[in-house]
C-alpha cells in the first residue's frame, strides 16, 4: 500500500510531466510555419538613422516597368522588362527529372535542361534583351530559373514563392531581362534549390561586353564546376580539359563555382584575375604563388598566357584543371599554394560610382548558430542578428538609397553570402579598408570571425533574397530579404503551389 507521501509525490510528478508535455507541444506547434508570405516575415527593421532624404524613385536601370509611388503598392510581377521590346536572344530550356549522364563517370539521379546537365551555355551581348522560356517537363517538385548574379528585374528573379510560383510539371514560364552588365553568370533553379542545384538544374550564361574589355583575350573558355554524386566535373565531364593556344596568347577562363563550397584556382605560372562575379578588375596584376578562392555561387574570370613551349596547367577547384598551350603537350600538377590572394587589395583603386561614406540605411547581418526548432524541425540552426528563422530581419530600403551593411560571421563555418538583384561593393574587412580595384561581388565568402562592411545602391526595386549559397545553410535558416518600400508579392511559400525556394 503506497504511503500518502508517495501518492502526493506521484500526483505532483504527473501534473509536472503533463504540463511539460503540453507546453512542449504548444512551443513546437508554434514553430510550424504553414503557408506564409515573406511580406509578413521578420522583425521590422528600417535601418539605422539615414542621412538626408532618399533620392526620388524612377525606372530602374534594368528597364523595369514598375514604378514606385508613395501610396500605391507595386506587385513584383509588374517589375518586368519592357514587354514591347522584342528579344535579341531567345532560348527555350526544358527541365527534366532524370538520370544525368556524366561523361567519364557514372550516371546519377538528377535534373537536365534540354537533355543535359549543365544545361546549354547561353551567350548574349551587353544590352541584349534575353528571353528564356522555361518548360518543366518532369520535375515533380516544380522548378524555376534564377539568374545568379544578373541584376534582372524582380519579376524575372525566379525565386519560388517570392517572385513567381514554382513551374509545375507541364507548365512554362518566360523570363525576360536586359543583359545590362557584361560578365560571367549562371542560372539555376530556386525551388527546393538545395536539391535541384545539387542535382544539376543549372547552366552557364555569359554576357559579352559591348566594348572590348581592358584585357583582350585571344581565346575564351568556360569552366563550370559541379559535383555530381561525389564526382568533380568540369563543364559536366569527369576529366580535365585542353585548350589550344599559341605561344603568348591570352586565354580568358570563366570559372563558375556552382557547388555549395569554396573553390580554389591556382597555377604554377602567374595568372591575372580579370573579373569577380562579372565585374572587371581595374589593372589586374600577375598572381604568383597564391591561390584565388571563389565562393560558392561565385565566378572569376582568370587570364592565363600560353607559354612559349608546352602548356600551363590552371587548377580549377580541388580536382579539375585546364591545360593551356600547345596541343598534345601536358603540364605537371602543382600543389595548391597555402597563401590566398586578397582581393581587398588587388588591382588599382578607382571610384566606386556612388558615395558609400554617408549611407541612407545601415544594417547588421550577424551570423550565429544555436539549437532550436524551425518549422517543427529541431536542429542546430543558423541565426541572423541572434534570431532564428523566420524571426530574421527584413532589410527595408527605398529606391535610390545607398545601403551599408555589416556582415559578421560569429559562427564556426564559412558562409558565401549572396544578394539577389544587386552587386555589392566591399568597403572593408575587419576594419581594414579596401585599397585595390573596387571589389564588386554578388557572392562573398565571410569566414568565421570576419566582419565585412559592404554597400550597395538600391536601384532595382523588388523583394530580394539575401542568403548563404551553401544552400543547405539557407534551408537551416540563413536567409533574409531586402524589401523595397511599396513593393508587394502575391506569392506565398508552402501554399498550394508548393513553393519552397530553399
Amino acid at each position: 500500500m503506497p504511503s500518502r507521501r508517495d501518492l502526493v509525490r506521484c500526483a505532483v510528478v504527473g501534473v509536472a510531466v503533463a504540463t511539460a508535455l503540453g507546453a512542449g507541444a504548444l512551443a513546437w506547434s508554434s514553430t510550424l510555419l504553414g503557408e506564409y508570405s515573406v511580406m509578413d516575415m521578420g522583425s521590422s527593421d528600417h535601418g539605422h538613422a539615414g542621412h538626408g532624404e532618399p533620392v526620388s524613385a524612377g525606372a530602374s536601370p534594368t528597364g523595369a516597368s514598375g514604378t514606385l509611388t508613395a501610396t500605391g503598392d507595386v506587385s513584383v510581377t509588374s517589375l518586368a522588362a519592357d514587354p514591347d521590346r522584342p528579344a535579341d536572344v531567345r532560348v527555350e530550356l526544358v527541365a527534366r527529372q532524370q538520370l544525368v549522364e556524366v561523361p567519364g563517370g557514372r550516371s546519377v539521379d538528377g535534373y537536365t535542361l534540354n537533355g543535359t546537365s549543365p544545361g546549354p551555355e547561353i551567350r548574349a551581348r551587353q544590352g541584349d534583351l534575353v528571353e528564356a522560356t522555361f518548360v518543366n517537363e518532369s520535375v515533380a517538385a516544380g522548378a524555376t530559373l534564377h539568374w545568379h548574379g544578373i541584376d534582372v528585374p524582380n519579376a524575372a528573379d525566379g525565386v519560388a514563392g517570392i517572385t513567381q510560383d514554382a513551374v509545375p510539371v507541364g507548365g512554362r514560364h518566360v523570363y525576360r531581362f536586359e543583359a545590362t552588365d557584361a560578365g560571367t553568370y549562371w542560372y539555376h533553379s530556386h525551388q527546393v534549390s538545395h536539391e535541384q542545384v545539387k542535382g544539376g538544374l543549372l547552366g552557364a550564361i555569359v554576357i559579352d561586353p559591348a566594348a572590348p574589355p581592358e584585357v583582350a583575350a585571344d581565346v575564351e573558355v568556360t569552366a563550370l564546376l559541379h559535383v555530381y554524386g561525389g564526382q568533380h566535373t568540369l563543364n559536366g565531364r569527369v576529366g580535365d580539359e585542353q585548350v589550344a593556344a599559341s605561344a603568348g596568347e591570352t586565354v580568358r577562363v570563366r570559372v563558375i563555382n556552382s557547388d555549395p563550397g569554396t573553390a580554389a584556382v591556382w597555377s604554377a605560372s602567374p595568372f591575372r584575375v580579370l573579373a569577380t562575379d562579372g565585374h572587371e578588375v581595374d589593372a589586374p596584376t600577375p598572381v604568383d604563388g597564391q591561390r584565388l578562392l571563389i565562393p560558392a555561387g561565385g565566378r572569376a574570370d582568370v587570364a592565363v598566357q600560353a607559354p612559349p613551349r608546352g602548356a600551363v596547367r590552371l587548377h580549377v577547384g580541388g580536382a579539375r584543371s585546364i591545360e593551356i598551350g600547345e596541343p598534345g603537350t601536358s603540364a605537371a600538377r602543382t600543389p595548391q599554394p597555402a597563401q590566398t590572394l586578397d582581393l581587398l587589395a588587388y588591382g588599382d583603386p578607382t571610384p566606386l560610382g556612388f558615395d558609400a561614406s554617408s549611407p541612407d540605411r545601415t544594417y547588421d547581418y550577424v551570423i550565429g548558430r544555436r539549437f532550436g526548432v524551425i518549422d517543427g524541425r529541431p536542429g542546430n540552426f543558423w541565426t541572423i542578428n541572434g534570431r532564428l528563422f523566420p524571426d530574421v530581419p527584413m532589410f527595408h530600403v527605398r529606391e535610390g538609397d545607398v545601403v551599408a551593411m555589416r556582415i559578421v560571421n560569429d559562427s564556426g563555418e564559412v558562409h558565401p553570402m549572396h544578394l539577389h538583384g544587386h552587386h555589392i561593393a566591399v568597403l572593408s574587412r575587419d576594419g581594414v579598408a579596401a585599397s585595390g580595384s573596387p571589389w564588386i561581388v554578388d557572392s562573398l565568402d565571410v569566414h568565421p570571425g570576419e566582419s565585412y562592411e559592404i554597400a550597395f545602391v538600391a536601384d532595382n526595386p523588388g523583394i530580394w533574397s539575401d542568403h548563404c549559397h551553401t544552400l543547405p545553410h539557407a534551408v537551416d535558416g540563413l536567409i533574409a530579404h531586402v524589401m523595397y518600400e511599396g513593393v508587394t508579392t502575391p506569392f506565398t511559400i508552402n501554399g498550394d503551389a508548393g513553393n519552397q525556394p530553399e
Binding site: L225, G229, N257, G261, A296, G317, A319, P448
Partner: protein
C-alpha cells in the same frame, strides 16, 4: 526505475563506442577515396560523398552525436529523479554536462581544429561517467535486494 536508469546509462556508454567506430570508419573512407585518386575539397564536403565508402560513418556520427546521445542524456537526468539510488542525480547531471560540452566541441572543430583533442578525450569522460551512473544504480538495486531478503529472513524467523 533503477533498472531503466542503469539501462539508459549503459546505452549512452555504448553509443559513445558507436561514435568512435563510426568516425574511424568515415575517415577510413576519406583516406580510401583519396588513395584512389579522389579529391576532398569544400565542394565535395558540402555536397556529401567526401567519406566515400565510409560516408555512412559521418552520417551515423552526426545523428547519434547531435541527436541520440543528447536525448538519452536528458532522459537519464529525468529518470534520475525517480531512481532511488544515492548519487543518481549527480551522475546523470555530470553525464549530461559532458555530453553538452561534447556536442559544442564537435560543432566548433571546423573553426578551431585543436578542440578535436578535447573532443576525443571528453568522449572517454562521457563513457566513464555513464558507466559510473550505471554501476551506481546496479549497486543500489543489489543493496536493496539484499536488505529485502534480510528483512524477509527476519520475518520468517519471527514467524517460526
Amino acid at each position: 526505475m533503477c533498472k531503466l536508469y542503469a539501462g539508459l546509462a549503459w546505452i549512452i556508454a555504448a553509443a559513445v563506442v558507436v561514435q568512435a567506430a563510426a568516425i574511424a570508419f568515415a575517415f577510413g573512407g576519406v583516406l580510401n577515396n583519396v588513395a584512389g585518386g579522389g579529391v576532398v575539397d569544400k565542394a565535395l564536403l558540402e555536397s556529401g560523398g567526401a567519406g566515400g565508402t565510409g560516408e555512412l560513418g559521418f552520417w551515423i556520427h552526426g545523428i547519434v552525436g547531435a541527436g541520440v546521445i543528447p536525448l538519452l542524456a536528458v532522459a537519464l537526468l529525468a529518470v534520475s529523479f525517480f531512481a532511488r539510488a544515492k548519487g543518481a542525480r549527480l551522475w546523470a547531471a555530470i553525464t549530461l554536462g559532458l555530453v553538452v560540452l561534447q556536442v559544442t566541441l564537435g560543432f566548433s572543430i571546423t573553426d578551431m581544429p585543436f578542440l578535436g583533442l578535447i573532443h576525443g578525450a571528453n568522449a572517454f569522460a562521457v563513457v566513464v561517467s555513464a558507466v559510473a551512473a550505471a554501476l551506481l544504480a546496479r549497486r543500489s538495486r543489489r543493496a536493496r535486494a539484499t536488505r529485502a531478503t534480510a528483512e524477509e529472513a527476519t520475518e520468517d524467523a519471527i514467524a517460526a
